[in-house]
């Protein structure tokens, strides 16, 4: 048997889809109505944001499509002047609130995803370096992380936002607002990724499969990217999902405070800021519906993140 040289062809692997449908994750998903609901809400809001130009009755960014005469139309009303139907009412510019929410959640999601990606890549890279190389790099990175953790992250984002804007000419502010926002939120949020990755890297680095790779002389770069990185990604993805909800809220907070997206490209936070001016004058819909949209989005993404954390945590199985 031992010296045989007959070619052995392994049988084909079971179908990817089949094994996915049989997995623990799908099983756990099917058993939790709240998670199913959160998935549906998230999906609807993602799709609405993605296909906003085709779904929305008007483009709220295009002043030519707005009719001032339709300003403050209540929800579920057809305008007597233009004949436009306003599902969720209109604001002081005659802007359709439903369309503004679709376009606004687009910006909120874009900023959220991009900021999480920025924080995730930065935090993972620094965490890997700190955990794998150790020494002064580890000490330096983790002390910076400790210091940053002592500030509330929204304060950090405000600070970073202000500093970056200070370096840019005023004329560019509106154009690059979205990028500045992404960098500010991303920079304020890398610490938790770095900490999780560093801890996981320290654990994986000591395991014998890494030593086995070192015994055959695999270069450190390959050990890091082929062995350690894939094995530390699981906690990172969980933090990322929960982080998405936090990033969306952070963006809304900054925009609400007036330092985020300008009123010409409103995100959900901007819409809420604009809407609060009319809260006591009877036009409640301008505030309420963007607020509800933000609540539903953040809540359902957060519920999904919590569920994912539980289902991927081997200790809770």
């Amino acid at each position: 048997m031992s010296e045989s040289h007959h070619a052995v062809t392994p049988p084909p692997r079971p179908g990817k889809l089949r094994s996915f449908l049989d997995s623990d994750i799908v099983y756990s998903w099917k058993r939790q109505p709240v998670v199913i609901l959160a998935t549906l809400v998230t999906l609807v809001m993602f799709l609405g944001a993605l296909f906003a130009p085709w779904i929305a009755p008007q483009n709220p960014f295009d002043p030519r499509q707005l009719d001032l005469i339709d300003a403050f139309t209540p929800p579920l009303t057809t305008s007597d002047f233009t004949g436009n139907f306003y599902l969720l009412g209109s604001d002081s510019q005659g802007r359709d609130v439903f369309s503004a929410i679709l376009y606004g959640s687009r910006i909120s999601l874009l900023v959220g995803f991009a900021a999480v990606l920025f924080a995730l890549v930065l935090g993972t890279a620094l965490g890997l370096m700190a955990g794998f190389r150790g020494g002064w790099r580890d000490a330096l990175i983790m002390r910076i992380a400790d210091v940053q953790l002592t500030f509330p992250s929204i304060l950090m984002a405000l600070l970073i936002f202000g500093v970056i804007r200070g370096f840019l000419p005023r004329s560019m502010h509106a154009e690059v607002a979205i990028i500045v926002l992404i960098v500010a939120i991303g920079l304020s949020d890398w610490v938790q990724y770095a900490r999780a990755v560093r801890g996981a890297t320290l654990v994986e680095k000591g395991k014998e499969y890494v030593q086995a790779a070192r015994v055959i002389g695999l270069p450190a770069r390959n050990i890091l990217f082929q062995h350690i990185l894939p094995n530390v990604m699981r906690p990172v993805l969980v933090i990322g999902t929960i982080g998405l909800a936090l990033a969306i809220i952070a963006e809304a907070t900054l925009s609400f405070l007036g330092v985020g997206m300008p009123a010409t490209q409103p995100s959900l936070g901007t819409l809420i800021r604009v809407g609060q001016d009319y809260m006591f004058s009877g036009e409640w819909w301008i505030l309420l519906f963007p607020g509800l949209a933000l609540l539903m989005l953040a809540l359902s993404v957060n519920l999904l993140g919590d569920w994912l954390r539980d289902v991927l945590n081997p200790k809770l199985r």
């Binding site: 499969y209 030593q211 055959i216 002389g217």
Partner: protein
């Protein structure tokens, strides 16, 4: 032994020679704590002056209680740790600087040995398929091999260790501890090494599975003429595997002797103590000895002979002078003043 007792004729047979190996670890507190608490730097001498030689095709077992430095010796040999002191010769070539080598220089040496680890649950990357795991040494050392050649070779290796070729498509978590250790062995065999360092390869397994793995390792040794450095704390396992045995205590070698001789007439008091503690199925009629005392903290080892606080034969010289390995006429080497003076 400590210097160079091998004649040229003997050296032809020797595969690995270790001269005065030492590895010290810095276990001090961080700088700030040291300054504030006015404590000194602390050094752990995990291995301190270990010398031995392994002949081609034999199994040298390294035994001792946990914490005595066995595993550190293994990791020094395969270049996972750098040497603090000493010299390593592999087939005549000085490989003391292996840990710092890279590229072709490292590969030329590294492809000639392999290591099998203790924990079958940590020694395989959980995200890789078994075929990828076993093929890893091939990808490193045989870049000329095509993917299909490699698949065929992995299938052969799997059958050689008693698994089947289709297992290459499965993940490590689908296997039991014993099967995982077979996968580890298949990976270790992939680059056709001459020398295998086995760091307690069976201590995490059930007794019934242990025997299967040990027999597999012996069969492979005969088939390929492998040389083993076999590390264990289990005397029964060692008896089954070893040609010669080196007994380690607190970073030093206490005694090296042929296996049968060591089991029949252990000379060092520590070897005697270790063997007296081994339970036998039939019973020898004697009361089983109990190992007295505990291994001292290696950060603050005892003066002189490290074993003297636990040794029934210790005298003033033992507390003062560190004994060196001395070869005796019965082909054993013992580091003990009492044996040297003929007191035991």
């Amino acid at each position: 032994m400590a210097t160079d007792p091998l004649t040229t004729a003997e050296r032809g047979e020797v595969l690995l020679e270790a001269h005065d190996l030492a590895r010290h670890f810095d276990v001090s507190k961080p700088w700030l704590n040291r300054v504030l608490e006015r404590s000194d730097k602390l050094t752990l001498k995990a291995v301190d002056g270990v010398s031995f030689a392994i002949r081609r095709g034999e199994t040298l077992a390294l035994v001792g209680e946990s914490g005595c430095g066995k595993s550190t010796v293994a990791r020094l040999i395969v270049g996972l740790y750098g040497l603090t002191r000493g010299r390593l010769l592999f087939d005549g070539e000085d490989i003391s600087d292996l840990v710092n080598r890279s590229g072709k220089q490292a590969a030329a040496v590294r492809k000639r040995f392999q290591m099998i680890f203790q924990d079958p649950y940590a020694s395989l990357n959980p995200l890789w398929r078994v075929g990828t795991i076993i093929g890893e040494p091939l990808r490193v050392f045989r870049p000329d091999m095509s993917a299909s050649q490699r698949r065929t070779r992995v299938g052969e290796l799997l059958e050689q260790v008693g698994l089947s070729a289709p297992d290459a498509n499965r993940y490590p978590h689908e296997f039991s501890g014993g099967q995982r250790q077979r996968i580890s062995i298949a990976r270790a065999l992939a680059n056709e090494p001459e020398f295998m360092i086995c760091d307690e390869p069976t201590s995490a397994l059930d007794v019934s599975v242990q025997a299967q793995i040990l027999n597999l390792m012996r069969d492979l040794q005969q088939q390929y003429g492998l040389t083993y450095l076999f590390i264990s704390h289990d005397m029964a396992v060692v008896k089954h595997m070893a040609d010669r045995i080196a007994v380690m205590y607190l970073g030093h070698i206490a005694e090296i002797a042929p296996a049968e001789q060591l089991f029949a007439t252990p000379r060092h008091p520590y070897s005697q103590m270790l063997l007296a503690a081994v339970p036998t199925l039939t019973g020898t009629g004697k009361r089983r000895g109990v190992i007295e005392g505990e291994v001292p903290n290696p950060v603050h080892p005892p003066s002189g002979c490290a074993f003297h606080p636990r040794c029934p034969h210790a005298d003033a010289r033992c507390a003062r002078e560190t004994p060196t390995l001395i070869a005796h006429s019965d082909s054993s080497e013992v580091a003990c003043h009492a044996v040297e003076e003929g007191r035991i």
